[in-house]
Symmetry: C2
Subunit: 446 residues, 2 copies
């Protein structure tokens, strides 16, 4: 059996995923309002034969403040539509909030963009998290976690059925008869807890049938929703052990849901610093870390750790911290901090840098060969089916990956040497799904 | 004083605005799912230096049924985003439903597309009308007219303030300091009857400040909303007298609202059949009319007129109909039918053709010179500031206008000979509006 090839998305964000990347003298910070810059980045990713460009999204300005770096200059569906015209093959994945989007709007935008892009679209369904987002959509605060996941499950179901409701074979175009065979349309007549949608959709089913459904759940409910519905998964895994734990857990859930785990690529986030020597790679990392405004970062670290950090020395090791059980703030980030300290023994400045680039995501620092080694180890030991690349600085870190790591993986037979299909489904080995017809509604056009 | 130049949009719809256009053997009916076809049409409109491509929208399949012709294959905002990449100068106007869109989503999509297009966007705000649309958005039926207009007014206000809430001068990009000056952001803290939106928007203000606001109200409330807010108006005017009545009424309302009527272009819909002789133009019209499926059309006419049309002879004059006062069905369309009969004395087939192409909109049939004469008459006698072109067949009728009528108008000094600006605001002589700051919220970033 030939070794398993990898999948890679470019998670495109600001001037790069390192929070201080925009502060570099030669950074892209001044170009982030220019579409041409995003087109250039997407073309680099396509030159590297990556599976897709992946965009996050949110419904408010940054909740940590707008002053310390770029968030968004474009809405993701319109930006990806534009990028679909500047590229020919690469997939395009947009985050869509199940908490705030009406399913009819979402289905229509997705169907339209899948058609415009010739079948290259994916949608990453999320439940939004922040009250600041709720307050832009008529609510005072976020609904509880369980309600958001209930809504997300119904949202995915309704959008899916809307996408199925106008099959392309209904477009008969009989010039002396009917344009559409209305009897083939399948209204939903959906009345659920969160949505009431009659259907059918008012645009025909797109080339991929449905855009590829990404999901990124880490909670119990999130993992179960992913197991039932996701066609690809964006995960958070700090190291190989965490990747293995997550992937084997979610694969078991996928199998329990009656689906084939091998059909669902699990793709953790990955930050890479690549140099021709390990020293050069470390220099690149250090150069970004040194751009961090130290006082602000230390103040933030004081909040994250509930410690007085004011007398911590930047280039000394991080002082010992209390165990997780003794911590009374949000557990997730504190657990990550403890893990970074335990495994990397960083200086204070290095810890700030790690938190500023990818946070709890995996970071690989090294030569093209050593990074390719690490990637192979993740693939072969069940930690990942590929990665959602989070370049710390754009375009430089992406170019480093595309021009140095990709050729190394290609030499080893672990990555495609040409796009072997024309749709995102094709790249991920997924079939176009058969439309699910609503059982209760055999007809018809209105 | 030099004569007033005209404005023209291309109202892009299906294979053309004549309902039977898709039935012609050489029609575009098979290409309507292909983006390339729309790109070709938009480029023809740009070759003709038209102000904008204009798209309608609706939130359900055609309420008259999907069998008798194409409606939509794309969602308008994504389609216009794609068209912005296939053109360089022409404006792009999308219809947006105030009844169904959340203002935060709408503002963000509009700001993003205005930026992507380099300042070429317009938005045509409508209140949706049909229960079939409401049923795709969680309602059982449409809200009453007054509620829809109340919502539309608040929607325009909130979207406008969202577009103003993140002025571009707040992007300071100080590499050793702040990326955004948060003190320049202006949250709305809006709590109204229909919406509660805190703001600010999470993308910066776009090149035009706000996309150009089109409106198309004919009711009292619609005219008043247009008078207070619209920057351009899409109107329905069957003939010059109707155009004059509408335009002078709406200009008086604009003045009463404290605005300059000369700044708001009133653009009625216009169907043109152009030939090198009048006979050739009439042949083009007859050729489309003859494609109408007669039995269906007669059946529809029976509903519209409440008459038994089954023994009407197609090529005989329309039999006399009861006066408007005696009619118990929907008045608007019946009034149009009576007006067409009175002014054109059509045969039954000609009446069916008129109703099938543009309905109550103005139709001009003739040579480039005679059509240009008519257009000049409308401009000079206060019937219009330009027209929303509704080509009966695409691309042929559009090419006829662009290649024959446009040069004639240019020779007469009544139409631009080059784009004299780079934004839709520029073509329409509109300034970029100053941002309105929310009075209650002097700060700040979250």
């Amino acid at each position: 059996m030939s070794p398993k090839p990898a999948h890679f998305n470019l998670f495109l964000h600001g001037a790069g995923h390192h929070k201080a990347a925009w502060r570099a003298p030669d950074s892209s910070a001044d170009q982030l309002a220019d579409l041409g810059w995003y087109e250039e980045i997407a073309r680099i990713a396509e030159r590297g034969l990556l599976d897709a460009v992946f965009l996050a999204d949110g419904q408010s300005i940054s909740i940590t403040g707008v002053e310390d770096g770029p968030m968004w200059h474009f809405e993701p569906l319109t930006l990806l539509t534009a990028l679909s015209r500047a590229t020919e093959r690469i997939g395009l994945v947009s985050t869509v909030s199940a908490t705030f989007y009406a399913p009819f709007h979402a289905a229509r935008l997705l169907a339209s963009l899948d058609r415009i892009s010739g079948g290259r679209l994916g949608w990453n369904v999320v439940t939004s998290m922040f009250d600041a987002e709720a307050q832009n959509h008529g609510m005072e605060a976020m609904p509880p976690h369980a309600v958001r996941y209930g809504r997300a499950e119904e949202f995915v179901d309704v959008v899916t059925r809307l996408l199925d409701s106008w099959p392309e074979d209904s477009l008969v175009v009989e010039r002396d008869g009917r344009y559409v065979d209305g009897s083939r349309l399948a209204p939903l007549e959906h009345v659920g807890e969160h949505f009431a949608v009659r259907g059918p959709l008012n645009v025909p089913r797109p080339p991929q049938g449905r855009p590829v459904l990404f999901q990124a759940g880490s909670s119990e409910q999130g993992r179960d929703l992913a197991a039932r519905r996701a066609e690809a998964i964006y995960a958070v895994a700090y190291d190989l052990a965490a990747g293995q734990e997550y992937r084997s857990d979610v694969r078991a859930r996928i199998a329990a849901a009656g689906r084939d785990p091998d059909s669902v690529a699990v793709m953790p986030g990955l930050v890479t610093y690549v140099g021709s020597t390990m020293a050069e790679a470390r220099e690149k990392q250090a150069a970004l870390d040194e751009l961090l405004p130290v006082e602000d970062s230390l103040r933030q670290l004081a909040v994250f750790t509930q410690q007085d950090t004011s007398d911590w020395e930047l280039d000394a090791p991080v002082p010992e911290l209390p165990p997780l059980e003794a911590f009374t703030g949000p557990q997730g980030r504190y657990a990550t901090i403890l893990r970074i300290i335990e495994s990397e023994r960083p200086t204070v400045r290095q810890l700030l840098g790690r938190l500023a680039a990818g946070g709890g995501h995996c970071t690989m620092v090294g030569t093209p060969e050593s990074v390719a080694d690490e990637i192979e180890r993740w693939l072969d030991r069940g930690g990942a089916d590929g990665f959602n690349l989070m370049p710390p600085a754009l375009p430089a870190s992406l170019e480093g990956f595309v021009d140095q790591v990709v050729p190394e993986l290609q030499r080893r037979g672990r990555f495609r040497t040409a796009y072997e299909a024309t749709t995102l489904r094709g790249y991920l080995g997924l079939e176009v799904p058969e439309p699910v017809r609503a059982p209760s509604s055999p007809s018809s056009a209105r």
